[in-house]
């Protein structure tokens, strides 16, 4: 399959089940909400080293937030519910509670409950105030700046982590331009985050290493400077490869983001130096979710034709 001169390789992204939640963070200004969102989702690129994967899903206009102030929605994913219950209160306490003017609300209604203020309310040293109206409880915690308002807990979803595309381009600059375009388009899809810096990964990994202590190591088959020295997946004209990793609240959300990302890359096309789109997988034996590139794009093309 070739779209606008870009080869869509007959490959698939292999993804895994993750447990995730959404938090709505508001603040007096959109800027401070964004600062809180960025801080809370910082150092959360990969569960391997960070314990969770997190990112800003979208900015929310004031009229749509629980307290009528501008906000952001963030998604946090972990490998299991126990880990999620640990990382969310930790990040809430260190990054949202501390951030001027913020408040934090549940962004998911259903599923197992992830504690928010239920855990961190003790910071208020007995001065915390609970307010439960209907079946929803929130807490007010006196802080030096005023009060921190936070829902008692939030729901969770069983999501999908590790969806990905690889962008093979002629040069580093062209790969980056294509990746930036793809990331910008994919961020518009509801229910997904791109947890790596700017949404883009330059150091995609393979499973295992020659060093016993490491679980993952550089994906040498896609390293252009190793072409010829190792079994390579790169044709001669490829000078740089960038990856975009996608975590989402559902298979459909990740699939949609995959399609939209590839479409954005293909819009740049061969003229922009893009050679091919590929995807990372482990042979299909580890992850239950497979995002097959060609069927996804074929379905997208069929939809566009309708």
């Amino acid at each position: 399959m070739i779209i606008n001169g870009v080869e869509i390789r007959d490959s698939f992204a292999e993804a895994f089940p993750m447990v995730g939640t959404r938090l709505i963070i508001t603040a007096d200004t959109a800027e401070w909400a964004l600062i809180a969102g960025r801080t809370t989702t910082g150092f959360a690129t990969s569960v391997i080293g960070c314990g969770c994967e997190a990112g800003i899903e979208r900015e929310i206009p004031a009229e749509e937030t629980p307290d009528g102030r501008p906000g952001v929605a963030i998604l946090i994913f972990a490998m299991d519910f126990g880990s999620l219950k640990k990382v969310v209160p930790l990040r809430l306490g260190q990054c949202v509670l501390t951030c001027p003017t913020t408040a934090c609300y549940a962004g998911v209604e259903g599923g197992k409950r992830v504690p928010l203020a239920k855990t961190i309310r003790y910071f208020a040293d007995g001065h915390q105030i609970s307010k439960k109206i209907g079946d929803r409880r929130f807490w007010r915690m006196p802080v030096m700046e005023g009060e921190f308002v936070c829902d008692d807990d939030t729901g969770s979803v069983e999501g999908v982590g590790g969806g990905n595309i690889l962008i093979l381009a002629r040069s580093r600059g062209q790969a980056l331009a294509a990746a930036e375009a793809a990331a910008a388009a994919m961020r518009q899809v509801p229910g997904v985050i791109l947890p790596f810096p700017g949404g883009v990964v330059r150091s995609g990994s393979k499973v295992g290493s020659k060093y016993k202590a490491l679980f993952a190591s550089t994906n040498d088959a896609y390293c252009p400077t190793l072409r010829g020295a190792v079994p390579s997946a790169l044709p001669a004209e490829v000078g740089s490869v960038l990856e975009i990793v996608i975590d989402g609240v559902s298979f459909a959300a990740v699939e949609q983001a995959t399609r939209i990302g590839i479409e954005a890359v293909c819009a740049i096309g061969a003229a922009g130096g893009v050679v091919a789109i590929d995807a990372g997988n482990y042979g299909g034996n580890l992850g239950p979710y497979h995002f097959k590139l060609r069927p996804i794009m074929a379905a997208g093309t069929a939809e566009a034709a309708l």
């Binding site: 629980p66 009528g68 609300y105 609970s130 307010k131 109206i133 209907g134 929803r136 005023g146 308002v149």
Partner: protein, 267 residues
């Protein structure tokens, strides 16, 4: 089965206790069985049909009491689901111990309206008597959940020993509002009588003007509270009371008894 309509045959000669006459109970009975239900009335227990015409009515799970009467006590007491509509006044203990469902009263309500309410919703178009949302004699805790909405004014000791839930009063609240209040929220759009909040441990009283408070209340000043903005948007019953600005003067008490309750004077 369909709903039930109770229409009084004549003015009641004594107080009538409608405890247990709820949609859930009635839905399990046939019309003749409902008519034979014994109902305490004065010192007797006449059949329901002796006091009311009993008819099938529209609306699954709805009990309609036509006309109402200030001598009808315990209307909706123990209600756990369904809806009771009274298109007139009711007596004391309406909605006492309710845990769910809806009780709508088109007239006024007597004392102990919604006492020990734990869930569901009570709407009263008229005034409420004393001790609305409070604890009854011998009980330590008043209302613990649900919503009590009084569109008129409330009598003395509204929310006494309230433990949770929301009370909204469109009119005034008489003396002793929130006495020994444990938790929960009371919003009063009108004036508040003397000695509000005495013995208050926790909980929130929302007021439009500063009431006369006991000496144990301390003024923390005026603050911009995000919690009020949240309540204005999340709790529809409070939307009319809160303008969304979030500014309120916060008085904390009753500190003489170690309490951390609060009176928030809006605006």
């Amino acid at each position: 089965m369909s709903g039930i309509v109770l229409r009084p045959r004549a003015a009641f000669s004594a107080r009538v206790d409608l405890s247990g006459v709820t949609p859930a109970v009635l839905s399990a009975l046939s019309l003749p069985e409902i008519e034979r239900l014994p109902v305490p009335c004065g010192g007797r227990r006449p059949a329901l049909a002796e006091l009311f015409f009993v008819e099938n009515g529209p609306g699954e799970g709805v009990l309609l009491i036509e006309g109402g009467d200030a001598r009808l006590d315990h209307v909706g007491a123990g209600l756990a689901g369904g809806e009771i509509i009274v298109d007139g006044p009711v007596g004391a203990f309406a909605g006492r111990g309710m845990s769910g469902g809806v009780l709508r009263i088109a007239g006024a309500a007597g004392d102990f309206l919604g006492a020990e309410l734990s869930g569901g919703r009570i709407e009263v178009a008229g005034n409420a008597g004393a001790h609305a949302g409070a604890a009854t004699s011998g009980s330590r805790r008043g209302m613990s959940g649900g919503v009590l909405r009084i569109h008129g004014s409330a009598g003395v000791r509204l929310a006494e020993r309230q433990r949770g839930g929301l009370i909204v009063v469109a009119g005034d609240a008489d003396e002793g509002l929130g006495t020994d209040m444990i938790a929960g929220t009371v919003a009063v759009a009108g004036s508040i009588g003397a000695r509000a909040g005495r013995g208050m441990k926790r909980g929130t009283v929302l007021a439009r003007s500063l009431p006369a408070l006991p000496a144990g209340f301390v003024d923390t000043g005026t603050h911009d509270l995000v919690a009020l903005r949240l309540l204005a948007r999340r709790v529809a019953d409070l939307a009319g009371m809160l303008d969304g600005s979030g500014t309120a003067r916060r008085l904390v008490g009753d500190t003489l008894l170690g309490g951390q309750g609060e009176v928030l004077v809006l605006g």
